[in-house]
């Protein structure tokens, strides 16, 4: 919201922004990151839970006077900013414990001890890229800081990554810096979390776990890459929970360890791999990042027919994610990712292609228009209606095929939005599904660029 206000201010048009009192700290971070002082009128508390009478009182007594002052009073000013160190500068020297304490006090950790980012350790990471440390991928919200190669190396060290993960870490940040990914929305109240998916031979070369326990903390590659993402969002982007500011995840969730696909299992059953679905060639090293706002319970399914399993997926996906479908409807995009257990995928692939699976999920997960509208109104959008979304071309016409509030509409907007990856425990009949947070953190992939001396460096890292 404040980004739109900044656009107007830069044109010489004074603005006053409506903001809930609980968002003021985040607003301060955003304003600093935008570099534009913004006036605000404050709504005390949360408008979604106030009576009509209370809302009117708060607007007349507090919000509207504040907005009027913002437009007609003294121009707002940016708070004074302290001078900052230069990238790569040594900022502290001390014992391991003293470093931890200093970093905790500065809000530079995720609450766990970090590996001290000494020059030697950072340089070891930089050996695994041919790119210059000062190269900037993009300036990222919400503090407006440079996503540089050096910042990736420093954060990788702190997260406990190994130096040879550096090409993967760079690809992760490149994907998250794609404007379509909307990294600036990483601190929204639903508290979604990015998940990294590593594809290609590099997954095995770096020892990513794609099998049993894949999403459990415990394997260095999966765990430290997942932690790296959260630390990067915190330190470079400025998404911090209290006592910091900038991350407004109301409850949030902890970081997700990185995923990898069991590509051998996928190929053995004749399905394209996840990265091939994303348009890459077999054998290419690829990183994909996408948001996860909700996860199903473990989806156990039995039997030797495809439909038995996919029907089970459809029922559980419907039960877990239908409530949040209104966010996809409002934006025209949301994607469930099905992590299909290898033994189940084998049964399904024996009869159905991935597209047949997608079509079944699309056809069989439904919600009444009345219920979806109710969920939207409960969350944030009292004006939600399908007619406007269809009229604006955000949803296809089938959503208003009738005006009956009890009509069933598809929870998944298009079959191709269903993503499928084969991974997990081959010795058990379990799958899981992960739902994205609509247009915030949509599935975004980047090829992993290896340094010219990759084979030599990797061999050296293994002693």
């Amino acid at each position: 919201m404040l980004r739109a206000a900044a656009v107007a201010e830069k044109m010489g048009i004074p603005t006053a922004s409506i903001i809930g009192s609980g968002f003021l700290k985040q607003a301060e971070v955003i304003i600093k990151g935008l570099g534009v002082p913004l006036a605000m009128g404050v709504y005390p508390g949360a408008p979604m839970v106030d009576s009509e009478q209370e809302l009117r009182r708060k607007v007349e007594e507090e919000l509207a006077p504040g907005l009027l002052r913002g437009l007609t009073g003294e121009a707002p000013r940016l708070p004074g900013a302290a001078a900052e160190p230069a990238p790569g500068q040594v900022v502290f020297s001390g014992t391991f414990d003293e470093v931890q304490e200093h970093f905790h006090r500065q809000l530079w950790t995720d609450g766990l001890p970090v590996v001290p980012p000494t020059r030697g350790r950072v340089d070891a990471f930089l050996k695994y890229t041919d790119r210059r440390p000062e190269e900037v991928i993009r300036a990222v919200q919400q503090e407006g800081r440079e996503a540089s190669i050096l910042s990736i190396a420093v954060t990788g060290v702190m997260a406990g990554c190994r130096p040879e993960y550096m090409p993967v870490l760079i690809a992760v940040i490149e994907a998250m810096c794609d404007p379509k990914y909307r990294i600036e929305d990483s601190g929204s109240t639903p508290g979604w979390e990015p998940v990294v998916i590593v594809s290609g031979p590099i997954a095995k070369a770096l020892d990513f776990n794609s099998g049993q326990g894949m999403m459990r903390v415990g394997r260095q590659a999966n765990t430290s890459v997942g932690r790296f993402v959260r630390l990067y969002l915190r330190n470079i982007c400025g998404f911090r929970i209290p006592p910091g500011a900038g991350d407004k995840g109301s409850i949030g969730q902890s970081f997700l360890v990185a995923m990898a696909e069991d590509e051998e299992a996928a190929r053995a059953i004749g399905w394209p791999t996840f990265s091939e679905d994303r348009g890459f060639q077999s054998g290419e090293n690829v990183v994909t990042v996408r948001s996860v706002v909700a996860i199903t319970s473990p989806m156990y399914s039995g039997g030797d027919r495809a439909q038995t399993h996919v029907q089970q997926w459809a029922e559980i996906i419907g039960g877990s994610f239908t409530y949040w479908a209104h966010t996809g409807f409002k934006t025209g995009l949301w994607s469930p990712l099905i992590v299909a257990g290898p033994s189940i995928a084998k049964v399904v692939a024996g009869e159905w292609s991935k597209d047949q699976v997608r079509r079944y999920i699309y056809d069989h997960v439904k919600v009444t228009a009345e219920r979806a509208t109710h969920y939207a109104r409960m969350t944030s959008t009292p004006t939600f209606n399908f007619e406007n979304l269809v009229k604006d071309g955000i949803l296809p016409p089938e959503y208003t095929a009738s005006s009956d509030p009890q009509r069933l509409v598809n929870v998944i907007i298009k079959p191709e939005m269903v993503e499928i990856l084969v991974a997990g425990d081959p010795g058990r009949n379990q799958s899981r599904a992960y739902m994205s947070n609509h247009i915030q953190g949509p599935t975004t992939s980047r090829r992993v660029e290896l340094p010219k001396r990759w084979n030599e460096l990797l061999a050296a890292s293994r002693g």
Binding site: M1, P47, E60, L63, A64, T155, I236
Partner: protein, 107 residues
Amino acid sequence: MNKLQQRHEYSVLWPLSRRAVADTNAAPRLPDLNGKTVCELWDVIFRGETIYPLVREYIKTRFPGVKFVGHAEFGNFHGAREHEVTAALPGKLRSHKADAAIVGIGA
């Protein structure tokens, strides 16, 4: 912890990165809104359909000559077409001869 470990020091690098944003000043304010056009930008959430009319009423009581342009003229800057809507904002604000804007709602 033995004495050797206690003595070992780490010189650590700054873990953040350079701010890449040049600070700018706010636009000059308008002490009198009579005869001015105030544009309403809304992200279509958090009861703006009720809040904006109340704000309009409040301001009109104090500046009867103010003119408002509703949010529908600008689109939802935080929705499905966020980037396109934001990119089109300067042109639309100019075409409506905007003197000021109220932007919401972050709640």
